[in-house]
């Protein structure tokens, strides 16, 4: 054994004792105990990632997470009642609503009765008991396993959701998944969602992450997705957490043959956030579109880090991320496309664009292409600047005030990432697009 005991930060020490307590309480199944142990040992070996760890260079989690909040327990009756009111105030997108409170699935607040045929929803805590195939899925990809946030999520794996779409099912509307943090003492929320889209099925899901303002709660969530052969999944995400929150989210997706995966994240919330997207093509002739719009003000920090793994030939990926930064905000985009030696005829295009609305914000961009095949079309680009003064002048010359002219141009800028989202069979994502555009306009109006 190594004789040197690493120096732990206060946050790391709390996480270590939280794990010890969880372990002492026992796991619902031996397989869960193993998953937790794997995640924990990864965390124990490296601690919280810091700026000398390459992937965390711009988001020094060790410095930004000064303390770890106590792990949230299952919500009690009064917490659920308060959450019900809060959830009721969030306009519905799409059809059936699924609600998680403090990381625990709440059937009471969900539309369990109106799930379309072919959609099966189970709490993760129940699904992992006696279903080894589900447990096996939860291990995650190699890239996710090596990741500190995902490892921590595994260490505290307790509940969440398993959503199974039966082969050939066309869900016909978007599942509206709300992940809400209850008010009160700040805690660490941990949740895992697994979405299995069967062969030839098509489904849409939108996650909305919300929580109270003025409290520095912490949330570390992971969404694992398996898009079966010939299937389509359209996935939207709205990160509108409370202003003091820390939000870590990992998306780990496997895209099968002839499949289509489209994901769009709108980030406006949290003090510090990081959205990680690990996407892999595991079957040929598939298409993935990863996109995001991030709007930050004050001293907000948001990081988008993606890894697009072209592991098989004949796939097409498009990555488009837009940042709109005001005040002293800090945006980060790290994007890596890997084209494996076998992945001939890969088409991969990545673009990161930033608009600065003030002198103060900072943006770090790190695009990378790692191409090991020779017959591919790949590229990346990145732009960063203020709004075009000529366009601003034209609008103002028509009497449109400065703030409104900015809002029109910012909306146009963001719209590009949003407007063709969900080109697939699910016309119903229209509602999501509209809601996102409305959020963007509200955000711009709030500046004035």
């Amino acid at each position: 054994m190594n004789a040197v005991t690493p120096i732990r930060t206060a946050a790391e020490q709390s996480l270590i004792s939280a794990y010890a307590a969880l372990r002492a309480a026992g796991a619902p199944a031996p397989a869960v105990e193993d998953l937790r142990a794997q995640g924990y040992s990864r965390f124990e070996a490296s601690g919280l990632p810091h700026r000398r760890v390459e992937e965390w260079k711009y988001t020094d989690l060790r410095a930004m997470m000064r303390e770890a909040k106590p792990l949230a327990g299952a919500p009690d009756a009064s917490t659920l009642l308060a959450a019900k009111v809060a959830v009721g105030n969030i306009p519905r997108i799409g059809g059936s609503r699924l609600v998680m409170v403090d990381g625990f699935y709440s059937p009471e607040l969900s539309d369990t009765g109106t799930m379309p045929d072919g959609v099966k929803v189970t709490s993760l805590a129940n699904a992992i008991v006696g279903r080894p195939e589900i447990v096996a899925r939860l291990a995650g990809s190699a890239a996710a396993q090596a990741n500190a946030a995902f490892a921590l999520n595994a260490a505290f794996l307790t509940d969440g959701l398993v959503i199974e779409i039966a082969p050939g099912t066309d869900v016909g509307h978007v599942l509206d998944l709300i992940s809400i943090t209850s008010a009160g003492e700040a805690r660490l929320i941990n949740a895992r969602v697994l979405v299995l889209v069967g062969e030839g099925a098509s489904a849409g899901i939108v996650e909305t992450h919300v929580g109270p303002a003025g409290t520095d709660y912490q949330k570390n969530v992971a969404l694992q997705v398996v898009v079966g052969n010939g299937a389509t999944l359209e996935h939207g995400r709205r990160q509108i957490e409370g202003d003091q929150a820390l939000h870590l989210a990992t998306l780990d997706a496997d895209v099968g043959a002839g499949a289509h995966f489209d994901t769009l994240t709108l980030t406006t919330g949290a003090a510090v956030s990081r959205s990680q997207l690990f996407t892999r093509f595991v079957g040929e002739n598939s298409k993935a579109t990863l996109r995001g719009v991030t709007m930050l003000r004050g001293r907000q920090h948001a990081d988008t880090s993606l890894l697009m793994d072209h592991a098989v030939p004949h796939c097409e990926s498009k990555e488009l991320f837009k940042h709109i930064l005001d005040n002293e905000a800090h945006g980060v985009f790290q994007g890596k496309i890997i084209v494996q030696p076998v992945a001939q005829k890969t088409d991969g295009r990545m673009m990161s664009q930033t608009i600065m609305l003030a002198e103060g914000p900072a943006m770090d961009n790190k695009p990378e292409l790692e191409i090991f095949a020779d017959d591919v079309a790949c590229g990346h680009g990145c732009t960063c600047g203020e709004l075009d003064p000529d366009l601003m002048f034209y609008l103002k010359a028509r009497g449109i005030p400065h703030g409104e002219a900015e809002a029109l141009l910012v909306e146009a800028f963001a719209r590009e990432a949003i407007e063709d989202f969900g080109e697939g069979p699910l016309g119903v994502v229209e509602e999501l697009r509209e809601a996102m555009l409305a959020t963007i306009l509200d955000w711009m109006r709030a500046r004035a």
């Binding site: 002048f393 034209y394 103002k396 010359a397 028509r398 449109i400 005030p401 029109l408 141009l409 800028f413």
Partner: protein, 253 residues
């Protein structure tokens, strides 16, 4: 009181030591159509931009009074709200901003300044469709982003559409005739003529007599070297058409 009174207007490029307007004086009366002609590079567009408030230029001396008020300290949108309109020589494309969204924002900004509520959607659509039809602007063009994919002539017509919707006190048309085919020229001129009124004035910048056959000017000014060097009646334009600028510009230099 004159509608526009420019006194000793002196302006330079903001980020370069190049002076373009050199103590320019010009008065435009209410109800007037004033033509400005002059060689390429004489500063006609610069004058129009400086009046509209483009940031690329610094005014180093002089004033420009619109209805007696110096507008040079105002932001571009405030000048527009006071009734100034510039039809650009080169209208700008704004990808992603829909033509209708843009027109509505402009109309509502004006209504707000006048203490009116937002225009209702049916009223707005009726208003735009009516004017667009008169100017030969198709529904397809109204559905696109501002000026995106418009031909040169279509962009110019679009400027006139905006002018007629905003009904300004003073409209400056910078080479609105260039790029227009013969029929479009007639349509645009009809649009302008229909708006002529005793309290409104037009400054028409052009290189060609032909536009002035349709929009009859009351006065013609000649600009050279960043100044108005000669003013006269409509016959001055004919004279220039026949003899060019050599005489006048030579004399001024």
């Amino acid at each position: 009181m004159s509608l526009l009174e420019i006194k000793n207007l002196t302006a330079k490029l903001a980020d370069e030591d190049k002076q373009i307007l050199n103590g320019l004086n010009l008065t435009v009366e209410k109800g007037q159509v004033a033509a400005i002609m002059g060689p390429n590079g004489s500063g006609k567009s610069t004058l129009s931009y400086v009046l509209a408030g483009r940031e690329d230029y610094d005014v180093t001396d002089g004033e420009a009074l619109l209805d007696g008020e110096n507008i040079l300290e105002l932001a571009p949108d405030e000048r527009a709200a006071k009734g100034l309109f510039l039809a650009f020589q080169y209208p700008i494309e704004i990808p992603g901003v829909g033509q209708m969204t843009f027109l509505k924002a402009a109309i509502n900004a004006q209504r707000k300044k006048n203490g009116l509520g937002e225009i209702s959607t049916p009223e707005f659509i009726k208003l735009v469709n009516g004017k667009a039809k008169e100017l030969g602007i198709s529904q397809d063009m109204l559905r696109r982003s501002v000026n995106v994919g418009f031909s040169g002539g279509e962009k110019k017509r679009n400027e006139i559409l905006q002018m007629s919707l905003l009904a300004p006190k003073l409209a400056i048309l910078d080479e609105t005739d260039s790029g227009l085919d013969i029929d479009a020229l007639k349509i645009v001129a009809d649009g302008v003529n229909a708006m002529r009124s005793p309290d409104r004035a037009f400054v028409v910048i052009t290189h060609y007599q032909r536009l002035l056959d349709y929009i009859r000017p009351d006065v013609v000014h000649v600009m050279a070297g960043g100044q108005i060097v000669k003013s006269g009646g409509p016959e001055l334009a004919l004279e220039l058409e026949a003899n060019g600028y050599a005489d006048i510009v030579g004399k001024a230099a």
